[in-house]
């Protein structure tokens, strides 16, 4: 009993040591990652300021409490001062705290206000990317170039360095340019967050939120969805490749060519063979559908319906077309008519009706999709 005072002091000095080491070993993922844009840099400084204030306040509070526990113990014969609350300090001492705390509060708010004004600065950007969250993937649209990228989790083993941190198609951005992100969502709330380059604002269906950055260093930056979006919330990583301006322009050019080719194919009147459609459909399926319906087509029991042997994929073609084109309200099944072109929809339906032993042998042509729309 007589040694008890030592232990709380002990515990809390360990904790403060943790805090100090947090500042020292920033490389070991104890702290916010090193910022690579001016704005996240300012936020980092603000974070370090409040952390320091927090640290000093804790040192003061722990110091006073431990001193009191040591000094004013009954076992050492200390008698309580029954009149302390009646003397000058006892009557007015409480006023100290509001004054000191108000001072600290105002200085924190003051240093936050300029950063906040920067966060809310919506001036023109060089590159504008619309970031759309859906269950459970990100779609990036370069608004000025008409380029669209769908980014999905790359499946890796839990032992891999990049487990849950890697995607098939990263977002490519130029360094040194002001980039504006427009955040929205198609189904539920999501939040796009890459701590090094940009803070988060929620992606909300029906809303467009805006954030911006100017990346200062080339490299690969990773983040993940921060707002609970249901079953696949842990499986929505974000990868940003920051490259030089020339590389970025080349990449955009390449994407544009690929997209032009794809849309030319989609709008041609060509009648596709079943094998061609199945091959294309598998790609579309892997990009857009696996998160819920799984690569095996078995879905997740009680959550996502199975396509393998399921009513939709083996039943009438019209129903299948309808659900893929218009989605099913009140569920995670999205309406794909705006997201996929006619060829892609035709291909994925053909794939689903012929894969996993669903050997219906049926072929859906882009023209059928057009008619169903």
């Amino acid at each position: 009993m007589c040694k008890t005072w030592k232990s709380p002091g002990g515990i809390f000095s360990v904790i403060t040591l943790f805090l100090v080491s947090g500042a020292v070993f920033a490389d070991y993922a104890l702290n916010l990652p090193e910022p690579v844009s001016p704005l996240t840099g300012q936020i980092y400084d603000l974070h370090m300021l409040t952390t320091r204030i927090a640290f000093y306040i804790m040192v003061a509070v722990i110091g006073i409490v431990v001193y009191a526990m040591f000094k004013f113990r009954k076992s050492k014969g200390y008698e309580a001062d029954q009149n302390m609350h009646r003397n000058m300090f006892g009557v007015w001492g409480w006023i100290l705290v509001p004054v000191i705390v108000l001072g600290i509060d105002m200085s924190i708010a003051g240093s936050a206000s300029s950063t906040l004004a920067q966060v809310e600065d919506y001036s023109d950007a060089d590159v504008t990317v619309k970031v759309t969250g859906s269950q459970w993937k990100w779609t990036y649209e370069y608004m000025d170039d008409g380029v669209k990228v769908v980014s999905n989790l790359k499946k890796l083993e839990p032992t891999d360095e990049l487990y849950l941190r890697d995607v098939d198609n990263p977002l490519v951005l130029p360094v040194g340019k002001r980039v504006r992100f427009l955040h929205t969502a198609t189904d539920v709330l999501h939040a796009w967050w890459v701590p090094e380059i940009v803070y988060k604002k929620d992606s909300i269906p029906g809303y467009i939120n805006e954030t911006w950055t100017r990346i200062t260093k080339e490299g690969t930056y990773r983040g993940q969805c921060a707002e609970n979006c249901g079953t696949g919330h842990a499986y929505m990583p974000i990868v940003v490749e920051a490259v030089s301006e020339e590389k970025y322009n080349d990449w955009i050019h390449g994407q544009k060519l690929a997209m032009a080719k794809a849309s030319a194919e989609a709008s041609s009147d060509k009648v596709w063979s079943r094998d061609e459609l199945v091959a294309r459909g598998e790609k579309v399926y892997t990009t857009n559908c696996v998160a819920c319906h799984q690569a095996s087509g078995e879905g997740i029991p009680n959550v996502f319906p199975a396509l393998k042997g399921g009513k939709i994929a083996t039943g009438p073609v019209a129903d299948h077309l309808n659900i893929v084109i218009n989605g099913k309200s009140g569920t995670a099944m999205a309406a794909w008519k705006a997201q996929l072109n006619d060829l892609e929809i035709a291909a994925v339906i053909t794939y689903e009706r012929n894969a996993w032993g669903n050997n219906t042998g049926e072929v859906v042509q882009p023209a059928d999709v057009k008619a169903a729309k």
């Binding site: 936020i43 509001p98 709330l189 939040a191 269906p205 029991p301």
Partner: protein
């Protein structure tokens, strides 16, 4: 009924026998006991869920539960701890202690008291069923939203969500009725001479808590009812496609949710306001400012809700207002810490279990306070938001601030309730075990949060492994320590050293302390004639 008649009745009518004593009870002590037992059951239920959560997070990869079950557990863990553990335990203590503290014969509305308790077991059962029902095929998706129930995700969920909505209605009715009862008791049932400014701090704390609950619970009930209508009756309050607004729900929820934090904290602060003077043998430092500042906390708490949703895209003016309002809360909270520390200052300290808890709470709650100010700063919060930093912060606020405060109260009042002293040595072991394990569990989460680990994820990338392993090991130790807690309570109820009327030497220093004039345990009906106030 005249006083003489009441005294007569008290002489001849002890507690009824058997199950009727409990089911039909209108006695504040019996109902208080039932509240406390209910809270204890819920503590173990919610704790078991936390153990599953931490076991799943022990390593990267899916080991024990699937993603929906995981977030279903997260949702239920939070709701059980908030509505099943802390609020009923605090209400149980209010039931037991407030009539005795203010010299009243019982609660003002004893039958209402019975109703507000017996709604709880029903609500608690429904709460657990809302989690289990998702496992029955054909009931749709599990409730995987987290306790905030944000639409549109909560629109997607299956039948469990409907059950949860009605559970929240029941819980809301229960706590509104309990609050009306407590506020009425405090305002109308005080013994002559027990002025408001003589009331023990615990009574003041509960007055503000009760008023807060009456203000906020209807807002939550309204919000979840709108959710119910969106789900089943074709409205579009929260559906942007129908002209509604998903963010509206967040405002309604947090208008309830933020003051709810003070609902959880204030009773425990009230308990500390009794324990610290007792074991410092010195009156509470700055009683009047503390009462006033609790009032300020009450008022400020109602107008800063949107700091939970800085990221939804509010205007610059709005976020600035909510930021300043939020960091101003550090003033009343800082004052509480200061006054508690200066109650100890130049006192004559001893370190029984309740006092150990009180001191640990001062330190750990201060820590939650400073991380709270960090989170209040908008640009920084845009980085912290929805990460484990937030998880660590609110567990530091609510576990020491609310739960440990209630443990301190249990140890402080167990001798009064049972007539037996608890085992001081075991009490101290429990304190050290649980406090150290708590810190091992939640301190590393600050780091994993800063490093970028989001909340409510069932699986994480390997860079977060070390901190999660530490956290999980701490959590298992934290969970185990509660078996000792249970053992101490049962042991104390069954026997032990007899407790005197006033087992704590300093219990009446600077406060009337009427409860300590009664025997331990107190008679079935405490004050049949109003006691004299010193």
């Amino acid at each position: 009924m005249s006083t003489a008649e009441m005294a007569h009745e008290a002489d001849h009518h002890g507690p009824p026998k058997g199950w009727k004593r409990w089911v039909f009870s209108t006695n504040h002590k019996d109902i208080g006991t039932m509240y406390l037992i209910f809270a204890l059951v819920m503590l173990f239920l919610g704790g078991a869920m936390a153990m599953v959560i931490r076991a799943e997070l022990y390593m990267p990869g899916l080991q024990i539960v699937d993603p929906d079950t995981y977030n279903n557990l997260v949702t239920n863990h939070a709701l059980i701890m908030v509505f099943g553990l802390v609020m009923p335990a605090a209400a149980g203590m209010a039931n037991w202690m407030i009539p005795m503290m203010i010299g009243a014969p019982d609660m003002a509305l004893p039958r209402l008291n019975n109703l507000s308790f017996w709604l709880l077991p029903a609500a608690g059962t429904m709460l657990v069923l809302s989690m289990l029902i998702g496992f029955i095929p054909g009931t749709g998706q599990q409730v995987n939203t987290g306790w905030t129930l944000y639409p549109p995700l909560s629109i997607q969920a299956g039948m469990g969500m409907d059950m949860l909505i009605f559970t929240i209605h029941l819980l809301g009715i229960s706590s509104i009725l309990a609050s009306i009862n407590i506020v009425t008791t405090i305002l109308n049932m005080r013994a002559p001479g027990m002025t408001l400014m003589k009331m023990p701090l615990f009574v003041w704390a509960w007055l503000f808590t009760g008023l807060l609950l009456i203000v906020i619970m209807p807002v939550l009930a309204g919000g979840v009812t709108m959710l119910l209508f969106d789900r089943h009756f074709g409205t579009a309050f929260f559906d942007a496609a129908g002209g509604g607004d998903p963010v509206l729900f967040q405002h309604l929820f947090w208008f309830f949710g933020h003051p709810e934090v003070y609902v959880l904290l204030l009773p425990s602060i009230g308990v500390l306001g009794l324990i610290i003077p007792t074991f410092s043998r010195k009156p509470l430092f700055g009683y009047k400012p503390l009462v006033w500042f609790m009032g300020i906390l009450f008022a400020l708490g109602l107008v800063v809700w949107a700091h939970h949703q800085y990221t939804v895209g509010m205007s610059l003016g709005a976020v600035t207002y909510f930021m300043i309002g939020t960091i101003l809360i550090s003033i009343p909270v800082g004052l509480m810490i200061f006054n508690f520390i200066f109650t100890m200052w130049r006192g004559s300290l001893t370190f029984e279990t309740p006092m150990l808890f009180a001191i640990a709470i001062i330190l750990m709650f201060s820590f939650a306070g400073v991380t709270g100010v960090m989170l209040a700063v908008v640009p920084a919060d845009l980085q912290y938001h929805d990460t484990y930093f937030v998880v660590a912060h609110f567990h530091y606020a609510l576990v020491p601030g609310a739960v440990f405060g209630l443990y301190a109260g249990v140890f402080y009042w167990l001798p009064k309730w049972t007539g037996h002293m608890y085992d001081e040595k075991l009490g101290k072991i429990f304190f050290w075990w649980t406090t150290i394990a708590f810190n091992i569990t939640f301190f590393p989460q600050h780091f994993s949060g800063l490093a970028g680990m989001p909340r409510r994820i069932v699986d994480y990338s390997i860079q977060f492994t070390e901190f999660n392993v530490v956290s999980s090991l701490g959590a298992f130790a934290f969970g185990l320590s509660h078996l000792l807690f249970l053992y101490i309570i049962i042991k104390t109820i069954r026997g032990g050293k007899e407790a005197t009327n006033k087992p704590w030497e300093g219990a009446q220093v600077g406060t009337p302390g009427l409860e300590w004039d009664l025997s331990s345990p107190p008679p079935f009906h405490s004050f049949t004639t109003p006691p004299a106030i010193k």
